[in-house]
Each structure stands twice: as C-alpha cells, then as structure tokens.
C-alpha cells in the first residue's frame, strides 16, 4: 500500500505545472504575482508556437513575462496587459482569441464537425434499423414454408428436438 502511494506520488509529481518563471522575476506582492501567472498562461510565446510564456524558457518569453509584471505594477488591469501584447504581436499571442468573423472557424469549427459526425451516425443507424425492421417481419414464402414443414417432419413430427444436456 505504501509502495503504491509512493508510486502514485512519483507519477503525479512530473505532472505538477512547472512554469518557466524564474525566482528573480517573481513579484513581491503575491496577489499581483498570481494575476501575472494567470495572464502569462493566456499569452503565447511568439517563437515557440504552442507554449504559453508561462511555460517557455525562450528569452523572449522571459521578456514578455517581465513586461506583464511591469504593466501590472504600474496599475494596468488584466485586460489592458493582454491588449498591450496584442497591439504589438497581434491576435496571435492570445491562446483564446476574441470572437470575430476571422476567428469564427476557430471557435465553432470543431463543434460543427462533431455535430456533422453525430448527424451522420444517427442517419446511418436509422437507415440500418429501417432495413432490419422490414426484413424481420417479411413472411415466409410458400416454398420456404414447405421446406420448413419437411424438415420438421424429418426430425420427428413436431416433437421438440433433444438438446445435449437432457438425460437420454
């Protein structure tokens, strides 16, 4: 049990969010630092594409982190800080872009795709159900009926065929 706990702890530890923030960057005011961390997670590092500046060790990410903190210390709101970065690096720096005409596919593309797939599945399922429902109730033709009767006759005139588990 203790081994298991240790193993779980070890597995979980690397998953702990390890930012790239270095000690000399951290602000003295914990509330401001918290806000800085939250903003940093929403800003994309412009040279590493899929990392936030909070995660990235790139020098430019460090510069941007320091700038975020500088703006916060000067009394900017969170939105003002993000706008400041967007003004310089474009909409690209946001991990969650604002909803505009150009960003509509970004926001609604994936749900639309899921919707299409779900609709397709429902349609195929319906079609299949329809087919099996029709086939299930189709009455036997005269020839089939005759053949079935002949088989039943051969097995012993309507007597229930013995199954293997029954005593002889």
């Amino acid at each position: 049990m203790r081994r298991l706990a240790v193993l779980l702890l070890l597995l979980w530890l690397p998953a702990w969010p390890a930012g790239a923030v270095e000690p000399d960057e951290v602000l003295a005011d914990p509330a401001l630092e918290d806000r800085a961390r939250e903003i940093s997670k929403e800003l994309r590092c412009v040279v590493c594409q899929n990392q936030s500046i909070d995660d990235s060790n790139a020098e430019i990410a460090r510069d941007m982190r320091l700038l975020v903190r500088e703006r916060l210390v000067e009394g900017d709101t969170d939105d003002q800080v993000v706008d400041f970065m967007v003004a310089r690096y474009g909409e690209y720096v946001r991990f969650s872009p604002t909803i505009r005409f150009e960003t509509l596919p970004l926001w609604f593309g994936p749900p639309a795709l899921v919707l299409v797939v779900v609709l397709a599945i429902v349609m195929v399922y319906r079609a299949q159900q329809n087919r099996s429902a029709h086939e299930g109730v189709r009455p036997l033709s005269a020839a089939e009926r005759a053949r079935l009767d002949a088989l039943v006759e051969k097995l012993g005139g309507g007597e229930k065929p013995r199954s293997q588990g029954d005593p002889p």
């Binding site: 412009v46 020098e59 430019i60 700038l67 310089r88 474009g90 909409e91 690209y92 079609a127």
Partner: protein, 179 residues
C-alpha cells in the same frame, strides 16, 4: 440517400486532400506570424547609443520622421545578421537612412563587430534588455522594417535579407514610398 452516403468518404478525402495540397503548394511558412504593427506608427521609444561606437548616439521615435528609413534589428552574436550585413550596407551606400536596433548585446562586442564589418547605420540604439524590441513586436534577430516619411511602419521582414528578397519585396516598396 444511400448513394450519397456511399460517396461521402470520397468527397471528404478530395476536400481534405485539396486543403493539404494547397497548403503544401503555397509554401506558406506556418511559423510566420503576421505583424500587428504594419501600417501603424512606430512605437514611442528612446534608445541610448552603443558605447564605444564612433558616430552619433542612439535614436528615438522622432528620428524616424521626415524621410523614409529602414530599421534593422541586429546583434553581434547573430550569424544571419552577419550574412545580411553587406545588403544593409548596400542600402546605406545607396543613400537610404538605415537605423540599427542592437538587440540583447554587449556594447563592447557590438562596437567591435561594427568596426570589423563596417558601420552603415545612421544611428544605432542599444537595446540591452530587448525592452524596445518588444515594443517593435520583434520575435528574433534579424528583422528589418521599412518606415515611411510619416513614421509609419510599412513593411516588416523576419529573418535575414537576401538579394532576391531585397529586389522582389524591399525595393518595389521603397520606390513606391518615394524613397
């Protein structure tokens, strides 16, 4: 209805294939980020000069007004900057005003680099902590901007200049701006 479903995967494949093919053939670099600063005035800044460099001191927003200028972000530690340096020098020899933002560099090393490879710059600003580079939306060195006479950024190129780029992208724009 059934027939339509039968051809749906083929249709999907053709559409996806078309998207991928067009992306492949257009040769667009996915790491290219459109600049937010093109057609916007240059940011407000004052850069001190590089210590040890001969010639005038740094430059500021006001210096970029009045006539067309080219702003080149460079560093002595940046190899592509050295590769494009003859082209930057050529622009200066052709009579264009070229300003340099010395990005995250040591003054002594930048001054030595300029002495060794030639100093085509009208003014060089020492951006030691890259603070002003961020104002310019710079993501790395080298980067080169065309700023018109009104102090508005008209073009930005990320990466080193090449003779072909200079001829195809830079010179037509510079001529159009009456430089």
């Amino acid at each position: 209805m059934r027939r339509w479903l039968f051809f749906a995967p083929v249709g999907l494949f053709v559409v996806l294939g078309g998207v991928f093919l067009s992306q492949l053939l257009l040769g667009r670099d996915p790491s290219h980020i459109p600049s937010a600063l093109v057609d916007r005035p240059v940011p407000e800044f004052v850069l001190p000069g590089v210590e040890g460099r001969d010639g005038p001191a740094g430059f500021a927003t006001a210096d970029l007004q009045g006539s067309l200028s080219i702003v080149n972000v460079f560093a002595s530690w940046c190899v592509p900057c050295l590769a494009e340096h003859p082209l930057i020098s050529g622009l200066s020899e052709d009579g264009y005003r070229v300003f340099g933002i010395n990005h995250r560099d040591k003054d002594a090393e930048a001054a030595a680099w300029l002495r060794r490879h030639g100093d085509p710059y009208t003014g060089v600003g020492a951006d030691r902590d890259a603070r002003i580079s961020v104002e310019w939306g710079v993501t790395g060195v080298p980067e080169t901007f065309i700023v018109d006479a009104a102090g508005v950024i008209r073009y930005k190129h990320v990466g080193p200049l090449t003779p072909q780029l200079l001829e195809d992208e830079f010179m037509p724009r510079i001529r159009a701006l009456g430089g």
